[in-house]
Amino acid sequence: MIDIDYLKQLLDIFDHSSVNDMKIEKEGTAIRLTKNLKRENAEPTTLHYAPPAISSHVATPLPTSPTTTATPEENLTPSSPEPSGEQRDDADTSYHEICSPIVGTFYRAPSPEADSFVEVGTEVSAGDVLCIVEAMKLMNEIESDVSGRIAKILIENAQPVEYNQVLFLIEQ
């Protein structure tokens, strides 16, 4: 197994080098390091409000914070450092994820006195409002894009949420 301090040093060296892709094999563990050149060379993010013609509305994926990512390959032991992403115990491909489109505050009801839009177990249809994410008075209603049953609500009411954070799991 690769020592975590060794891996950190390796990432540091790799980050400051001109090498873009590197594979290391040590003591039965293989690690591949790849620089995300697309992001480095990308133009500054801009928001386009396309004039009259209907635009496509593709949410961009959550950017990863470092420019270096460690991709575990074969032979990785379960306790390997630097997994490629956060693992949820209940991760299940049969669930449909509803994510936050913006950084903001998560509200389960339209006002403090009102009932929650949905509870665990609520059957929802595509278009039903699930919650509001608010940022600086921009009240963003999040609607379900599928029909199914609310399996999990992953955030407490009035808690901050990050861009692309999973809010609900829907069982289809």
Partner: protein, 269 residues
């Protein structure tokens, strides 16, 4: 010049000419409606294009923030809702601040063109995150509502501006006194002209905007920041120090640290 806003109604020829001149995809006028936000939303759900604009002479249930009602009387205000379909959602939270800057700038120009002294700018200030302030009173407001379904997203920007004085304001309707554009210009204001200036400014200046506020935007906001230096008790107690590049409110709380406020209603001390 007569104020023509309440005469347009369903005149499709005038409507089409205006839509073309203002560069909006579609334009609908209502002499009286419950809420332009609600109409814009129904248009959006039916597949309307971005930059569809809904204008009303009078709203009977106009929406303000936190479920409040936007107060107006027939013939008194400029009120419209704009459907936008942003391609990328990252900068959405900044929309109220950014639109506030564009509107404040445009209203300043209008005031100058109507006789106000350019040396006295800025006239219009911003009360974070969505109020337009003139002479320490509220002259307008911005309400931005977003709807997200999967990877589809649209926003409805609601803008209300008090143009002609009205007196029948319910008690406690706003925490600030109301101000009216017409009181600050020597010649009688014309709502259609005001509307035209506001929408064309939005069309020109909202085309492409970066994800974060640019330094010049932060600088301009600082000049227009009505809350700056004031003490507030909600959502957190402290003295307002400005906003950061994300548009969040910065609060000094007496310690060395500056707190960042992302959401919540402001209550002054």
């Amino acid at each position: 010049m007569p104020d023509l806003l309440n005469q347009i109604g369903s005149d499709t020829t005038v409507r089409d000419v205006l839509a073309d001149s203002w560069g909006v995809a579609d334009l609908r006028f209502y002499n009286r409606t419950e809420s332009t936000q609600a109409i814009a939303r129904s248009f959006a759900d039916a597949g309307a294009s971005g930059w569809t604009m809904i204008v009303a002479d009078h709203q009977t249930a106009g929406k303000g923030r936190d479920g409040n009602t936007w107060i107006s009387q027939p013939g008194s205000s400029v009120m419209f809702s704009l459907l936008l379909r942003p391609e990328r959602p990252e900068a959405l939270p900044l929309l109220p601040v950014r639109i506030g800057l564009i509107l404040a700038r445009t209203l300043d120009d209008l005031l100058i063109s109507r006789g106000a002294s350019p040396e006295d700018v800025p006239f219009v200030r911003l009360k974070w995150p969505n109020d337009l302030i003139l002479d320490n009173g509220k002259i307008g407001g911005i309400l931005v509502e977003g709807i997200t379904r999967g990877d589809q997203q649209y926003v409805i920007v609601g803008i209300g501006l008090n143009v002609f004085r009205f007196t029948d304001v319910p008690p406690n309707a706003t925490s600030l006194s109301l101000r009216f554009f017409d009181d600050y210009v020597p010649n009688k204001a014309n709502r259609l002209r005001v509307l035209e200036r506001l929408i064309t400014a939005l069309r020109e200046q909202l085309r492409t905007v970066p994800e974060d506020l640019m330094p010049r935007e932060i600088e301009e906001y600082a000049c227009r920041d009505w809350l700056r230096g004031r003490r507030i008790v909600e959502p957190l107690p402290g003295r307002v120090a400005g906003i950061n590049r994300k548009g969040y409110l910065l609060l000094e709380n007496g310690s060395d640290e500056v707190e960042t406020v992302m959401a919540g209603s402001i209550r002054l001390m």
